[in-house]
Amino acid sequence: MKPQITGMLVAPAAALMFGVFVLPFLFLLVLSFWSQVPGSLGLDTSFTLANYVRIFGDSYYLGGLWTTLWLSGLVTLICLVLALPLSRWIVLRAGRAKGLIIGLSILPLVCGALLPTLGLVNLLSPLGFINGALKSMGVIQSSLPLLGNITGVTIGLVQAFLPLMILPLITTMERLSQDYEKAATSLGARPVVVWQRILLPLLLPGIVAGSLLVFCASLTAFVTPQVLGQGKVVTFASLAYQQAALVLDWPFASALAIVMLIFLTLAGVLGALVTRNFGRVA
């Protein structure tokens, strides 16, 4: 193919992604150093650090940041623990059902953030499925508080982002030959040792990729935390959303968004370091 034709084919999509997706991130950075003219929608374009001072000087925002960070870490860990056996089973045992099971397990991904959350409300609410079932079986007398707290938000985020962990794990596992595992087992290694010495190091690239995706998604989620937390769980992304959509203080919302980006970058660097130092190449 002639280079000119290749250029013509790729250019429209590349220009769109650069102009509409990449450039706004740069604008965001600039905007976060501006400020809102009080009482109006006008922007004061003189350089100021006020937005960042406000975030890091206020325990409300710092608290939100802290909650979001450990919540995202917890969600990532739970997703990893659930996705490892599931992906392994899908790759090794599912047989002909494999495609369908992968298709169904990505449902939360294509259903968007909202519809599964609606179902979760009815699953977890005081009159909902779980509490109703437990009460009619006589296990509990009064409803378990599963909504409007961290428990509900954690369940919702794990459910929403598990596919992000499953897909990279399946890809990594499919590339992995089973010979290493068989060799280790035949030499007398117990399952725990096989996991610890063979499987985990070889799967590490997939584990890191999946963990990063889940961590980033949880850190920036606001629909699930808002609906399942019922306003009682303050996460960083919902603070940014409120500032952008309801308070209309865009410079401050931009600064909040930039802080999220900084933590995502840190997570990415950490992931790269872990892969480099502990991963093994098959």
Partner: protein, 263 residues
């Protein structure tokens, strides 16, 4: 004996995890048949009245229409642009091919809410907030990477020798495209169309920030109602219908063109 026991045990574990993934969607469908005003388990009585209410509700009807319109237009543009770019990347092997691929797939890894906040303030400057072109531009941007990833994988799987053979036998480029490349790329095209449409139709994160008051899609209307008034059974009924539609699309896609293999 021991392996059989551990097989059964691992099957139980796997099924439990799958059930956990699907539970919210199953409960959503189930609770749409609860006849009461607030879902309770077990329901006092079952009825189809919320489906009826949903189909007769003018606001939800217009929102569903807007979601569909936006989804169809954005999907057509995104799949076209993504397919052209993927074909160029795979067959033309441009010099900065990897960088271009990363650029096209960037929205899959970068946080959309951060981007939407930026887009909101840029749109405000340009007077594009709450306009249909603004929404279409945003939806093409979030759906294009899904289509691009599927189409890049699809073209990589098509043996270029098939195209070369047709050409050497005297077929003009248009005939090669029509008779060889397009039929072989069809499963990928259908997969990316399905995924792109679902992503656009169900998006709430980006749309809720830039939708304005004129073009309220179904997820945006549901989300704003949810924050002010809580859950409305009519929403549950529509949500259940959308979820069933999504499941049917995925299962049919899986049967006809191995949709999940391309994700």
């Amino acid at each position: 004996m021991r392996t059989r026991l551990s097989d059964a045990l691992s099957l139980v574990v796997v099924l439990t995890i799958l059930l956990f993934i699907l539970a919210p969607i199953l409960v959503l469908i189930f609770s749409a048949f609860d006849g009461g005003n607030i879902f309770r388990f077990p329901p006092r009585f079952y009825s189809l009245r919320w489906f009826e209410a949903a189909l007769n509700h003018p606001e939800y009807r217009s929102s569903l229409w807007i979601s569909t319109l936006l989804g169809v237009i954005s999907t057509l543009i995104a799949v076209t642009l993504a397919s052209l770019a993927a074909f160029g990347l795979v067959r033309g092997r441009p010099r900065y091919g990897l960088a271009l691929e990363v650029l096209l797939l960037a929205p899959l890894t970068l946080p959309l809410v951060v981007w939407a906040i930026a887009l909101l303030s840029i749109y405000a400057e340009l007077g594009m907030n709450g306009t249909l072109p603004g929404l279409i531009l945003a939806h093409v941007t979030i759906t294009l990477p899904f289509a691009a990833r599927i189409m890049i994988a699809t073209f990589k799987e098509i043996d270029p020798r098939l195209e070369a053979a047709a050409k050497s036998l005297g077929a003009p480029p248009s005939a090669v495209l029509r008779r060889i490349t397009l039929p072989l790329a069809l499963p990928g095209l259908l997969s990316s169309t399905a995924i792109a449409f679902l992503v656009s139709f169900n998006d709430v994160v980006v749309t809720t920030l830039i939708a304005g008051a004129g073009w309220i899609t179904f997820p945006v209307r549901t989300f704003s109602r949810l924050r002010t008034e809580g859950i409305d059974p009519t929403t549950i009924a529509i949500g259940a219908m959308i979820v069933v539609f999504t499941i049917v699309l995925i299962v049919v896609g899986q049967r006809l063109f191995q949709l999940s293999r391309r994700l």
